[in-house]
Symmetry: C2
Subunit: 480 residues, 2 copies
């Protein structure tokens, strides 16, 4: 274990003492975000934004590989447009920020800052789509959205946030359903293989689905405090919007038909997930695939001749091998730097000093398990590349183990309550599907339905709460 | 020359007849943008957005290579913050859209949708910067901004547009000035070597500089109708904002000093420049470096056995060689497809039919000069890669030739007027530097000062308009 000096870690609230304060300490001290002068709006600093850029690149490649293209639709949506789909406006209107003045004049009609963009996409789709030849339409956009929130937390719930939103149009119900599931699959692959976050995927209850959707699929991850985080959702909109916005096409059989639609989104909220799934008492631990700095090179006794040169040379070799590496040559002690880069979650640290150089060696520290050992400088880039892959895989495995250890199965109400109290995690149980029963469970326990997993098991024949015939296995948890 | 069939081109207004209508015909028919339900807001369709994505990648790489990092600052700026720098708010307040309601309630203080983000960056910089060790700060953000415009044109002037804005902070005036010029240099390199648009670079007059800046550098390009387009600007903000926002740092000499700042920006407006510098009667001509499709493969007699397979194989080889290639196998005639891809400005088209396949050949059409010839299929990828480089270089050269042929030098007022009337282009002439003289010239001719070029010549000793002693050589033009 590295020695802890210079006081960084002492200033982070321990996870066990107050997880919520640990979270805000870490994001602030790791320089990910800061609070702005507008309540609920965050400034994403470059270290936090660098993570988002890497996430964007990985996701965008996957969207394009599945045939989607990016476009950009306007920020402002006229009130009348937002109101065209009844459930949708009911769901979003309370959270909308309204522009009422522009260019020194009162506007005739208030304009909503987009809380999501179904309505403006649909207004264009009704112009663009005439024939089955125009289908499918497979668009995505990367943008900011705004939802007026009463209580906010950086990344997890802020008024403005960054996201991507896919909006697709199809000729048949089946194609739309396939697309909805395909994109949830893309999200699951991204969460597990890039963010190293294992997820439960499945369908939302009627109450928890997206306002205006026929149904919503979701992926849910378990945080270290035992709460669930919804990481991404994919909605089958059915014909709800195509009917509200008159999106009709002439099909091959010469019939005029309403189109079938989907929408799907993920946001900067996922960064909160990375922090709360992987972080520890020293701060962040970043999965190598989204770490802006994958390997930090810290020169030891850097004032001595040849040390900085050796560090620069090593860093150059790492970069040439495709590793995101940097040298930290600031005028601070090595111990101070060790602590800072551990706090920032950099997966690998290399320490190199005069004796190491003499011996043709360096010291390699891996952040995930906080162990270090000497390695020969010869072949170091292959070594580090291998180590980064190991760390990526190990982080996913540890997160999976944690989730399994914090997932409980209940077949009766006592078991359910025990699971919640002892476990701080997911409880899976059979459920009747009734909205009132769902509300009662929430009222009694603070726990909400997370999803009906695609992988179902018949744990019993009756609802864990009300005893009526069971319709589905459901994951329950407290959630963000 | 390819035969023109199927009526596409006939529907584009000729440039010579009405350049402005030609522009709107092209952007609409080439599927770059559409108009939304909000006045002055455009939908950037995927073909237009694809160009922007390529531009972003090229610029972002250059920003990072010069030491900048990306961050994200909030969309909404409190009124009181916007008002902290007097000239700045005076310049921007008339164009601001105001949010006055959120979450169902009237806001205590109106929030501006950012027209530009100096004020919100500065409010954070005043918190973050304490010591000379914190400097320089070199940040950029990619985002949307909004300026309420009375008359709008897609890409050139819209209420909402996409851009990047760099905001940097330095310890000395000299460093800030170097940064201001460095980033204009990055823009010039990008314009010429990526967009194939030659630019005149220099300094803006006092009247034309950015609201709140000490001075502004600009790059100006000449459109085919003889009007200038400002393509990007870089501002030395001096200490204007650091004094308004109290951005002070403790310098090495233990003195508390106000910081020196810069900001610089380019936007989707540049896409308008690409269209108006390179377009012709058939539509767009895209520089290969920003063409979403660089090479379109059109199968001829595609119903015949082996044709589609050969087209797909060829396309696969092109892609493997790093060329953005696609096969157009839609159920349309080859002539229809030729016209469409010419309209969309794809740099190279390959036609391949049964006879070509038999002969081991294909037909290669280059969009820039609209010529085609047969080429052997063997070694075709190297051929196309070379051709794309030739087209890129040729487009820059032709644009440069056009600009030279439309730039006039005037040493007296008659010559100035002649230059404007016959030339439709830049007029360079000596100028006294007086704001009233500048206003008079605009009043009489509709021509504005574009920039005092870095490369100065002493054309005469007196101002071309008022006859007072000349201070500088200035470029004048009508402008967008």
């Amino acid at each position: 274990m590295a020695k802890q000096k210079d006081g960084f870690v002492e200033r982070i609230t321990p996870q066990s003492e107050d997880f919520s304060r640990w979270y805000t300490d870490v994001i602030k001290m790791a320089d990910m975000v800061d609070y702005s002068d507008v309540k609920g709006a965050m400034v994403i600093k470059y270290y936090g934004y660098g993570i988002w850029e890497l996430m964007q690149r990985e996701m965008d490649d996957r969207f394009k590989a599945t045939g989607h293209k990016n476009a950009y639709f306007p920020l402002l949506i006229p009130k009348s447009l937002l109101e065209k789909e009844a459930e949708h406006v009911e769901g979003f209107a309370p959270e909308v920020a309204w522009v009422t003045k522009g260019g020194g004049e009162e506007l005739a009609e208030p304009l909503a800052i987009r809380p999501t963009s179904e309505t403006i996409f649909c207004s264009m789709y009704s112009k663009w789509i005439q024939s089955h030849r125009d289908l499918p339409v497979l668009l995505n956009q990367w943008c900011n959205v705004l939802r007026w929130e009463k209580s906010t937390r950086p990344f997890l719930r802020t008024s403005e946030f960054l996201w991507q939103e896919g909006h697709t149009v199809h000729a048949t119900e089946q194609e739309a359903e396939e697309e909805t599931k395909r994109m949830l699959g893309v999200y699951v692959d991204f969460a597990e293989n890039v963010l190293a976050i294992p997820v439960i995927s499945g369908r939302k209850s009627e109450k928890e689905k997206f306002a205006g959707a026929m149904h919503t699929y979701t992926m849910e991850a378990l945080m270290l405090d035992g709460k669930a985080l919804q990481m991404g959702t994919s909605h089958n909109l059915g014909q709800n919007f195509s009917k509200g916005f008159d999106i009709q096409f002439l099909d091959k059989d010469d019939q005029l038909k309403y189109a079938w639609q989907t929408s799907w989104g993920t946001s900067t909220r996922m960064i909160g997930g990375i922090i709360m799934v992987h972080g520890d008492e020293r701060g962040l631990r970043l999965p190598p695939k989204v770490a802006p700095v994958q390997c930090i090179v810290v020169p030891v006794a850097q004032h001595k001749e040849g040390v900085l040169d050796a560090a620069d040379k090593l860093c150059g070799e790492l970069k040439a091998a495709g590793i995101r590496a940097e040298v930290d040559s600031r005028d601070q002690s090595p111990g101070w730097k060790f602590n800072e880069w551990e706090l920032k979650g950099v997966p690998v640290r290399i320490e190199i000093g005069p004796r190491d150089i003499e011996n043709g060696e360096c010291v390699v520290f891996r952040r995930d398990i906080c162990e270090k050992q000497s390695e020969p400088l010869a072949g170091i880039t292959e070594k580090i590349n291998g180590l980064l892959a190991d760390i990526q895989a190990g982080m996913l495995q540890r997160a999976r183990d944690f989730r399994e250890a914090h997932t409980f199965e209940a077949t009766d109400w006592n078991g359910f309550m025990e699971g919640i109290e002892q476990g701080h995690g997911f409880v899976r149980a059979m459920w009747c599907g009734d909205a009132q029963c769902e509300a009662d469970i929430k009222e009694k326990t603070g726990v909400t339905t997370r999803c009906m997993p695609f992988e179902q098991k018949q744990l019993s024949d009756v609802c864990v709460h009300c005893g009526k015939p069971a319709k589905t296995m459901m994951y329950f948890a407290k959630s963000y």
